[in-house]
Amino acid sequence: MADSSHGTPGTTVAVGSTGRQLDEFDNPGLPPHRPRLADRDPRAEKRAERQVALLFAISVVGTLLFFVGYFFIPLDQTIERLRLQNLMLGLGTAFAMLGIGVGIVHWAKTLMPDHEVTEDRHDIRPESDRQDAEKIVNDILDESGIKRRPLIRNTLLGAALLAPLPAIAIFRDLGPLPGNALKETMWDAGVRLTRDPSGTPIRAADVTIGSAFHVIPEGLNEAEHKLEEKAKAVVLLMRLDPNELNPSPGREDWAYDGIVAYSKICTHVGCPVALYEQQTHHLLCPCHQSTFDVEHEARVIFGPAARPLPQLPIEVDDEGYLVASSDFQEPVGPSFWERG
């Protein structure tokens, strides 16, 4: 690299940009070859030969081990047996492969010639080829007449630009348009809060202070699009001391005697906010650690979320079961453009 004769001839070099030394050491050429043990000592050579053969033999043993594991360890529905079989198959394959691989490499390193060889690099693009190619391209362009006939060229360009559009349009039916889907959930006035996943309704009296319930709307398990509805409708239910809640004006009656229900779908990117810290009344999303303060309407106190969890207004029906008094008043889950 330091030798200026090594640069490609005919290329320009910016003066001063290379810091090329005028005074530099000559390339001494390849160091003398140092013979290996097996090159000098026939016994070492024989030993290496035996080692390679032994490694290949180990490979054979590995293959046999695989078959032992495959045919002689019947699976019996216990995970221990499965693990054992997996271990045998894996170790068998490992020995089979490593035996061959290490054997070949050992062979190459000890017994095959280790003289380094020098080969010249060739020009990637010899100038004569460039000239020939230029002439060919010009002839092709000339014969095609594309330069002389702009009408053909321009109409072809126009057609070629438009032709791929159907290939994009045809993907339109990959999915329906969003419509109002993201703004509505299964919750509605009078829909009972039920336990996830059993679907049994929750009596307000069963919710003791400090407890938390994972909640789904009644009828979710029978819904046609169960998972899609569940992905929007899951709710966390907690009971606090009513004095610890700080509802904003207009939301005083969204809770029932200290029982509050918040959407379980994180307003960050939609993970379930599944962790409830009983002592601090914080909700924590295990995916990205957004933390919400239930005492203050689930406002964000830490992490990447920017919006509080939407609150589900709840009340109690005639039989003492918790019901929603309406759907969520805002879209649940991660933000999207049309959310507004």
Binding site: M1, A14, N27, W107, P272, A274
Partner: protein
């Protein structure tokens, strides 16, 4: 066989000869053997990373094909009746059930799943490390810029292959991963909601996504990867492999071993070694135990879960970004005449900005550096990383930026494992993601320069032998042994460019671009260590006595 044209038709005598000749005369095998049979490949342990990437990809194709015979990419509901007792009778998708069947009811299925998953992890890692090698040794320089770009594309494709495959078992863990993707996608302004509905075929999770990811995973992405690998290797053959500088190696030659037999044996044997090691890992270490997670359900989630390592940095960035700073809210509500639209920058910034920064710099780097150096020569000799201190430092800064985000993806595990506050871990990592790369840049540049100085020292004064000699007048010296010509050449044969000052153009003025270039050039090359010259070496021999070794010691000491 081709007797009609040859003057003296070749007639093979042995049976093998006849078969060979039959094929050869139809496909031109002799020409291929003549061209490639003794082609020279330089040898260095760092050149193996690309091989690992290639071999893991082959293993992925082999194990993946096996898995497709048993896997069913359907999201239809079914009730599990297979061998794994804890999940018997549980409702789940057919995709998840068939993944369980592969694990528990197909002999060798679990092994193949584990080989496939471990290979995927190693594949992305090998591609990444291979790229780091190419970057830090300057192998992306002319004429290899396009091959670098193909390599960058392969990195993105390998991430795509990994991600599309990760979700296929349709378990709880990967389902939550998809949910995050859905959330990020919805954050995209104007089209986000539509993209999400088109990808999932309606509302998340829908019943389409697994089948779509499957087609991408087993057909489209691997096909494009194969195409890119073909191009990549074609260009490697065309350019011939680069080599580290050293005695006998020049910019116009290739020094190494011929393909046949040594290189073919080493590279071919290495495939079996990679396969063997992956098989051993798959035998001993469980990866992705989907039976522990259960089928996907939008409500539960387990704490302390981690994505596959290569997605970690994006997940970490999502964790690091604060949603609000004080009263400043990163979720913008933009009023328009037709209503208000939401722009959740708290999601968009971490999901897109680090990736855009890293990938843009990565793709453009060969041209950025060529602009700085104004160097249009071909480079077939690699740089030792220390001999390009600024490039090395920028690379280390990039790696640090990446690694801090990656570490952030484990912020909860760091907190629980070291019993520190989760919030503090996040605060520290937020500081580190900005400061870390800057510090890493400064430190690694200093280390590079220090190593260059050490090289200079060794070239000028020789190797420290550790032998202490007491001179007649009582002074103690350490005997240094001069390095031989080969080592000396390795230590001194590098370029140390000088910063280029802006020069007035034709109109006698220095253009603004030239000024910028001058500043960048100074930033790159101001701190430099020049290689030792023969004159310097001669001068240092004149006034030193330490370099003499062996039998010359006594003479040197007495001559003082």
């Amino acid at each position: 066989m081709s007797s009609s044209t040859a003057t003296q038709p070749y007639v093979p005598k042995t049976r093998v000869g006849k078969v060979t000749d039959y094929v050869d005369s139809r496909v031109g095998g002799s020409t291929i053997v003549k061209e490639f049979g003794r082609k020279i490949f330089p040898d260095h342990w760092t050149f193996m990373f690309g091989e690992v990437a290639l071999y893991t990809f082959v293993i992925l194709l082999l194990s993946g094909t096996f898995l497709t015979f048993f896997y069913d990419p359907s999201m239809a509901e079914t009730t599990y009746e297979g061998s794994y007792l804890p999940l018997r009778g549980v409702e789940m998708s057919v995709a998840y059930a068939s993944s369980l069947d592969i694990s528990f009811d197909i002999r060798g299925g679990l092994f193949m799943r584990q080989v496939h998953h471990w290979s995927a992890l190693l594949f992305v890692a090998a591609v990444a490390v291979h790229m780091l090698r190419v970057f830090f040794t300057g192998a992306f320089r002319k004429p290899r810029e396009f091959n670098w770009v193909i390599g960058c594309t392969l990195l993105i494709l390998s991430l795509a292959a990994g991600f599309t495959g990760y979700s296929l078992p349709d378990d709880l863990l990967s389902g939550n991963g998809l949910r995050i993707i859905d959330g990020v996608m919805k954050a995209i302004p104007v089209v986000g909601t539509y993209l999400s509905f088109f990808l999932f075929g309606g509302e998340f999770p829908g019943t389409a996504i697994i089948g779509r990811l499957y087609v991408l995973h087993i057909l489209l992405v691997p096909a494009v990867i194969l195409l890119m690998i073909g191009l990549h290797l074609f260009l490697v053959v065309l350019h011939k492999h680069s080599q580290f500088p050293g005695p006998g190696r020049t910019n116009t030659n290739v020094v190494g071993y011929p393909v046949g037999p040594v290189y073919a044996a080493k590279a071919g044997g290495f495939f079996f070694i990679v396969f063997g090691i992956l098989a051993a890992i798959a035998a001993a270490f469980t990866i992705n135990p989907i039976w522990n997670y259960g089928p996907y359900d939008p409500s539960p989630v387990s704490a302390g879960t981690q994505p596959d390592w290569y997605i970690g940095w994006v997940d970490g960035a999502l964790r690091l970004m604060p949603g609000t700073i004080g009263n400043f809210d990163f979720e913008f509500m933009i009023p328009f005449p037709w209503g208000t639209n939401a722009l959740p920058l708290n999601v968009l910034i971490p999901a897109l900005v680090p990736a855009i920064i890293l990938f843009t710099l990565m793709f453009a780097w060969p041209w950025i550096e060529a602009w700085v150096t104004k160097d249009t020569r071909e480079h077939h000799l690699l740089n030792r990383p220390r001999n390009a201190p600024t490039r090395t430092a920028i690379g280390v800064a990039g790696v640090t930026f990446y690694c801090v985000m990656w570490a952030a993806a484990s912020s909860d595990l760091i907190a629980t494992h070291f019993m520190v506050s989760l919030n503090d871990v996040t605060y520290w990592l937020r500081v580190l993601v900005i400061l870390g790369p800057i510090l890493a840049f400064m430190v690694s540049r200093r280390i590079s320069l220090a190593l260059q100085r050490k090289d200079r020292e060794v070239a000028l004064h020789g190797r420290e032998t550790g032998r202490i000699v007491r001179l007649p007048h009582g002074e103690f010296i350490e005997v240094h042994e001069p390095v031989d010509d080969y080592k000396l050449y390795t230590l001194t044969s590098f370029e140390s460019p000088l910063p280029e000052l802006p020069t007035p153009g034709r109109n006698g003025k220095v253009s603004r671009l030239d000024k910028v270039h001058g500043r960048v050039s100074r930033f790159f090359f101001e701190d430099r260590v020049a290689p030792v010259t023969p004159k310097e070496l001669a001068a240092s021999h004149g006034d030193h006595h330490e370099e003499v070794a062996g039998a010359k010691d006594r003479e040197a000491i007495s001559s003082r």
